[in-house]
Structures are given as C-alpha cells and as structure tokens.
C-alpha cells in the first residue's frame, strides 16, 4: 500500500481548520440542550402528567432513530418550512442562501436534549430526597435548594455520562457533511475528491478525531477530579 505522505501531511493541516466548526456545533448543541433538558428531567421526576408522556415519547423517538436519519429529515424538511414561513410573512430574504450550520445546530441540539435529559434525570435521582428536605427545613426555597444543594451533588455523578455524551456528540458531528457544513470530515473529503486520495484523507480525519476526543476526555477528567475533591473535603470534615 502506497500512502501519499505529502498529501497526508498537507491535508492534515487543512482539515485541522475544520476543528472550530466541529467544536462550535458541539458547544452550541450543549448550551442549547442544557437548560431544556434540565427542565425535562425535572418534569419527568415530578411526574407532571401529560408533559411527562410527551417527553418520554420525544426521548424514545430521538434515541430510537439513527442520527443520520434525523439529519436527513431535518435537512429535507426545515429549509422548505422556513421558506414558506418567510414567504408568508412577506419578507424578502433568501432562506436557501443561509449557512447550513444552522440546521446542524438544530439537529444536534434536538439530539443532545434527549440524551442529556436522561443523564440529568438519573443524576438527580441519585441525590437523596433527604438532602432536599433538609434544605427546606433550614429555610431555603426550592430554587435555592436545587442550585446550592442538589445540583452540585448531581453534577458529580453526571460528569462521566456528560463526558460520554460530549464525545459521542463530537463523533456525531462528522455526519454534518451531509448538510454541506464545512467541518473536519467534509474538508478532507473535498480535498480527497481532487485526486482520489480517500485513504489518506480518512486517516487524517481519524487522527484528528482521536486528538480532539482525547483532549475532551482529558479535560472532563480534570473537571471531574476538581468536583470530586470538593466531595472528599466535605466528607473529611
């Protein structure tokens, strides 16, 4: 097997320019998903009747379908929906010239909301109800009890799962090329199509994802250690 090393190195540095886009999608998805999925988790824990069923169905659909299908559905549905909305409002604005990264934000946010709500729910359930009752007993409001007592404890438990979810999200963004978003995969693929150097391009993508995901995991393990240190201090005292 002959690998074109010059091409390999050249494309590696070219594809690296796609990392900001990948991280942008990841971070936007996480930022959008965090508050929504937190409230979804709370609604589910408190057994709010109809809302709980809606949330359960939503999570089931999102987790039960491949992300590539979600991408294809959103990408074939939303542009024309937006177009209709814009036309009916009488605005003079071309929807189809919009940066396709918007659709990537939407798909990956929808996906992350489902995953994160389950992570939050299981984490919140691990905190003993006595904690909340104790916080109420010393006169805290429910909001205070949650932000000061329950959430910090739940976050320690949730950290490994959030890490997993983030890594999967980063891996998932490799499919954004289907929406013509210019991220790592699509840059390297386009480069490969000039001279049919597909193996080299995919090796580059492979290496970049390993680097990005390993750094993410490292960062998460540092954050986790930081949280854990609080826990051991409170235990010792």
């Amino acid at each position: 097997m002959e690998l074109n090393l010059d091409y390999l190195i050249k494309t590696f540095f070219l594809a690296i320019t796609g990392i900001p886009t990948t991280l942008e999608i990841t971070i936007v998805a996480l930022l959008v998903a965090t508050p929504i999925s937190f409230f979804m988790a709370i609604y589910k824990i408190y057994n709010v009747k109809i809302i709980k069923q809606i949330i359960t169905a939503y999570v089931s659909v999102i987790r039960g379908t491949p992300i590539v299908l979600q991408i294809l559905i959103v990408y074939s549905l939303l542009p024309s929906l937006f177009n209709m909305a814009v036309k009916s409002m009488g605005w003079n604005w071309d929807v189809f010239s919009m940066n396709p990264i918007i659709y990537a934000y939407i798909v990956f946010s929808l996906n992350t909301i489902a995953g994160l709500s389950e992570v939050f729910r299981s984490a919140l359930l691990t905190v003993n109800t006595g904690q909340l009752e104790a916080a109420h007993a010393i006169g805290m409001t429910t909001v205070q009890a949650y932000t000061r007592i329950v959430i910090p404890q739940a976050l320690v438990v949730a950290m490994p799962n959030i890490c997993n979810l983030t890594v999967n999200l980063i891996k998932g963004t490799s499919l954004a090329f289907m929406m013509t978003v210019k991220e790592i995969t699509s840059i390297a693929k386009i480069e490969a199509s000039f001279g049919y150097n597909y193996i080299e391009s995919y090796i580059d993508i492979f290496l970049i994802y390993i680097i990005v995901c390993s750094i993410t995991q490292l960062l998460f393990s540092l954050v986790e250690k930081h949280f854990r240190s609080y826990k051991s201090i409170t235990k010792a005292s």
């Binding site: 097997m1 002959e2 089931s60 659909v61 987790r63 039960g64 379908t65 491949p66 992300i67 590539v68 299908l69 979600q70 294809l72 559905i73 074939s76 549905l77 024309s80 177009n83 209709m84 890594v167 891996k171 998932g172 490799s174 499919l175 995969t185 597909y198 193996i199 995919y202 090796i203 993508i205 492979f206 994802y209 390993i210 990005v212 995901c213 390993s214 995991q217």
Partner: protein, 234 residues
C-alpha cells in the same frame, strides 16, 4: 411546494421491509464477531499482563474516539489495498457487506469488551474463590459460576450496545450497501428526489420500532434472569 403525502409513508414501508434481513444479517454478524473480539480484549484487560493490557487499552481508547463513518471509509478504501499489497488478494469485487461487517465488528468489539469487563468485575471475587475451594477447575469456575452471573449484569449494557450498533449500521448505505437505508435512498432517486421526507420518515418509523422491540425484549429477558438472582440471594 408539493403537499406532504402521509399515505406514501405506508407504501414506502412495504417497499423497505424486504431489505430488513440485510440489516439484521449485518447486525447479527457484527454481534457474533464483535463479541469474539470483545471477549479477547476483555480477557487481555482482566488478566492484567502488561503488554496485552496496554494493547487492549489503546485499541479501546482509539475506537472510542472514532466516528463510525470514518472507520467505515477507512476499511472500505484501505482494506482492499492492504490485502492487495500484503497477500495479493483482490477483494475489490466482493460484496460490500464484508466491509460493513469488518467495520462494525471492530467497533462493536471495543464496546463489547468494556461491557464484558465491567460485568465480570462486578461479580464478587469471593464467588470464584468459593468455586475453586469446592474443587472446580478454574475453567469450570468461570463457565459455571462467573459467566452466568456476568451475563445477567451485562444484559442492559449489551442491549444498549446492540441498539447503538443498529443505529450506526444505518451508515452502511454510504459505501453502497443496499440495506433498508440504501433502498430508501434508491427509492428517493427513483422518484427524482421527491417524497424524500416521506421516505426518511418511513425509515425512522422502522428503526424506532426495531429499537423499541430490542428494548422490550431485553427488559423481559432481564426480568427473567434477575428473578433467578433474587431467589439465590434470599
């Protein structure tokens, strides 16, 4: 814009379902070979010899960070050339399902090894010691005592891994395998790009029902197995 046609979804589902066996064959094949690979990797990690453990750790860490689609294309473009240049076998004309099977075996092996290892480690070491002390050989102790208990622990994680495998397996159409997704894209191009949304929704419905089916059957299986567990504990 052409109006949305819900009846077309039903029509497409009946066109897609004949390709379900391809998807199922791919899943079963990957599960079989992936479990073998996972067993080897988990064994390497549990045994704790330095070099096999290091290799298994590296493999699992690498595969955890690889998007399925990237691995799929590396295998698809790389494997024929690798075999051609090393042993001179030309596999350019074999069925595409081989590449898909290789890819998902590699991926599922990494997941499976972690599922197996955590399940094995969750069983109390005392169980093995007790088995050895009553005169079972290490082999018997593993197959009669450790394995049945580990299986019960591993079941929920295995179910999750299976669902993820099925969802990732939907990417196989990108290398040209005609499974349900592949047939779906063919139907869309046969209709000159119209009815795309209906076809995708039909596919989503099929995948969703498969996920629910797997979830429910694992739930039943788990209840069945953990029932035995409880009666032992009492």
């Amino acid at each position: 814009m052409r109006p949305f046609n819900p009846w077309f979804i039903l029509e497409v589902i009946s066109d897609l379902l004949p390709y379900l066996p391809v998807t199922i064959f791919m899943i079963l094949g990957s599960v079989f070979f992936g479990s073998l690979l996972g067993f080897v990797l988990a064994r390497a990690k549990v045994m704790g010899r330095r070099i096999p453990k290091l290799l298994a750790d590296c493999y699992i860490a690498t595969l955890r960070c690889t998007p399925p689609i990237v691995l799929l294309f590396i295998v698809y473009y790389g494997l024929p050339e690798l075999l051609m240049s090393t042993i001179g076998v030309n596999i350019n004309n074999v069925n595409k399902i081989i590449f898909v099977l290789v890819t998902f075996t590699l991926l599922f092996g990494a997941t499976m090894s972690e599922v197996m290892r955590t399940a094995y480690e969750s069983i109390d070491k005392g169980q093995q010691e007790a088995a050895l002390s009553i005169g079972l050989s290490p082999y018997q102790a593993f197959y009669r005592i450790m394995l049945p208990q580990s299986v019960a622990v591993a079941l929920p994680n295995f179910g999750n891994a299976l669902i993820n495998l099925m969802k990732d397996g939907s990417l196989a159409f990108t290398v040209g395998l005609i499974d349900m997704m592949g047939q779906g894209t063919l139907i869309i191009s046969r209709n000159f790009g119209s009815y795309a949304l209906e076809t995708y929704i039909a596919l989503a419905i099929i995948y969703w029902s498969l996920t629910i089916l797997i979830e429910k059957s694992f739930g039943v299986l788990e209840m069945h197995l953990s029932k035995g567990k409880k009666s032992v504990a009492e």
